[in-house]
Symmetry: C2
Subunit: 384 residues, 2 copies
């Protein structure tokens, strides 16, 4: 009987735990430092809870000892150390902590410890990596890939037409952190929010996209001419964020105001927190499209991967938590069941060749009402 | 030989002093608490300076004793007390301090002391009041007046297309203070920035206007059906200010950030100060149009008053300082010369009937390259 431990009881961690607890033949435990969050998740009597400070390494080592698969959904800044500890203790891991560090650096340690550590196992990074991996296997030569991903509110209220469905500081980080992409086979960096693209999304309509820094492991693992991630928002949002950023509202350098040192970003986060909160009764949408072009049998082909999800009114789980959490919970299961046997640090593009894994993951997502559309077609010659 | 004292050595006060100092047969002195500002203005050796804290009433009384006309260009919050002291000491005054209080409340004191106190003697309030006063005299029945006024940068740099040519806190005040207008003969109040009008300005092009609180004395002195002041900006600016205001960046209530009480507006002012500064070599534009409609001999007539000015590269005086400062300096002269003999607190609409004053003021402005266009026409019946 597999024993799962979920580290982190936030928006996504709680969904992962609830999903794992559906399995009768398993045991699910959640650890966190936030007692109210633990109490909330413990209303499901199939979930056990542990009070744990992830930054206390000895306590963390002790906590994970008796579990088979550890799912890390800790805050990004704790992500790398937590994952390193799990691997070092010889435990299999699934990770969705959006850590700034490169987790591939732990690959040799994972192999040495004979551990499976599936990282960036959410929606994007996550399913987007899998889409790129599948496209890469489909083509003889992978030419161009574009990832479009957006978490959007169903209800479009001015002036922002945006609600946070994950950490607010991480959202602002997207607006300030340079975006890395591959262009003509080379790594290039873009200032955030500087280039805006207009695109159409089914059921949603016109959206804007800006180059964002979600490629991560794909920058190293995939051979491709051009690869870019775009984060999508309703039109106008990007100019607004650029305005706030360029005025200095996202600055992390303190400024002197009335004899106090103030970090403008902290004030901005405080003001946006209420304004951007998804209200009770409101719904979110998660949209992911990965469009790839490549050569197959010397012809131009297109590989298209798409999903669109929305908040589940039965559970109250947001689309963002569902599309991030279910790939992680499914992957934890498939490690426990021996479907994923690969060792090392594995972003999802490296599991694309594991047909068993991919098929079971997609069936599991479909069962949870997340339908992935994949289209592989030869591009007609006249539009080549 | 008239002796002038200018209180306040800021953007406008220094222009008033420089203009008064052109008269050979007069003496001009400037008082301020800012020593660097005094040193700057004292480079003109026809201007004397006094170090003075306006909030020290006894020092103020002593300072004004030997002068004939006192021009008050002090910060708005000191305006009312300063004017009251001047009047109470029996001194004639010209005031451009944008005080929140109603200066008409000092009228009986001014009459009792036999003093001439011309108030709101800038561009708008100021020349706009004169325009409304002239229209009111022209019509038998004044139906509708609209004041359009804007201080704009010549160079339109995104995202704000705006530079401050007067006090930054006062600009933000315009975006938050409710605007008073007259509608169907009644006083009405509008939330700031809520209603936007599109208009065309000669030489400038399309502008946006929002209802602003510049009518002041006109709300009491003029009999009219409808009267509104609009502040003009380049298109898009108002939505941006509304965004900042609605997010809370203009809030004066402190919020708790990292265990400190922070007033968001103070942080915003700090960030905007540099961004909105008119740079060396950049020019500003001041545009004022007052459009009035009324009945004359039982026909519909239009009274139009317009001026457009820009920074003077010879002196470096901004259009805003010129159009605000020259009406004040001219009026100080005309009080000294006995052209303005009226007693009491006099906003410019109450001087419209003094033809000598109006003609000399307009000639003086023309000599300083500020050309006022006035058009009085019968409205053709077919567009009635």
């Amino acid at each position: 009987m597999p024993k799962y431990l979920v580290l982190g009881c936030g928006l996504v961690g709680s969904v992962i735990a609830a999903d794992l607890a559906l399995d009768k033949d398993s045991e699910t435990t959640v650890a966190d430092i936030h007692k109210e969050a633990l109490e909330r998740v413990a209303r499901n009597n199939r979930i056990k809870t542990i009070y744990l400070d992830f930054s206390d390494e000895l306590k963390l080592i002790e906590a994970i000892r008796e579990y088979d698969v550890i799912v890390s959904a800790v805050p990004g800044f704790l992500g790398h150390n937590t994952l390193k500890t799990i691997i070092n203790e010889g435990k299999n891991a699934v990770d969705i902590a959006f850590m700034p560090e490169n987790s591939l650096g732990l690959d040799s340690l994972a192999k040495e410890k004979n551990v499976t550590a599936v990282v960036d196992c959410g929606v994007s990074p996550g399913l987007s990596n899998l889409a790129v991996g599948l496209a890469s296997l489909y083509f003889d030569q992978y030419l161009e890939g574009n990832i479009y991903v957006g978490g959007l509110p169903m209800k479009r209220s001015k002036p922002y037409e945006y609600n946070t469905v994950f950490s607010l500081p991480d959202v602002i980080e997207e607006y300030t952190r340079p975006a890395r992409a591959i262009e003509n086979g080379e790594l290039v960096e873009y200032k955030a929010l500087e280039e805006v693209l207009i695109t159409e999304a089914p059921f949603i309509g016109t959206l804007e996209g800006f180059k964002s820094d979600g490629l991560r492991s794909l920058l190293e693992t995939i051979e491709v001419e051009d690869l870019t991630e775009y984060t999508l928002r309703y039109p106008g949002h990007i100019a607004t964020m650029k305005l706030l950023r360029d005025t200095g509202f996202f600055n992390t350098e303190p400024i002197r105001v009335n004899d106090k040192d103030i970090v403008p970003r902290d004030v901005t986060i405080e003001l946006l927190r209420d304004m951007w909160r998804l209200q009770e009764g409101d719904s979110d949408i998660c949209f992911l499209k990965v469009e790839s072009i490549g050569l197959k049998d010397e012809k131009l082909h297109q590989h298209l991967f798409m999903l669109i999800d929305q908040l589940d009114p039965k559970t109250g789980f947001t689309a963002m938590a569902r599309t991030t959490g279910f790939p992680a919970s499914m992957t934890a299961r498939l490690i426990a069941k021996g479907v994923v046997k690969e060792k090392g640090v594995l972003p999802l593009e490296l599991l694309a060749a594991n047909r068993d894994y991919v098929d079971t993951l997609f069936k599991g997502l479909e069962y949870r009402d997340i339908n992935i559309m994949i289209e592989e077609i030869e591009v007609p010659e006249d539009i080549e």
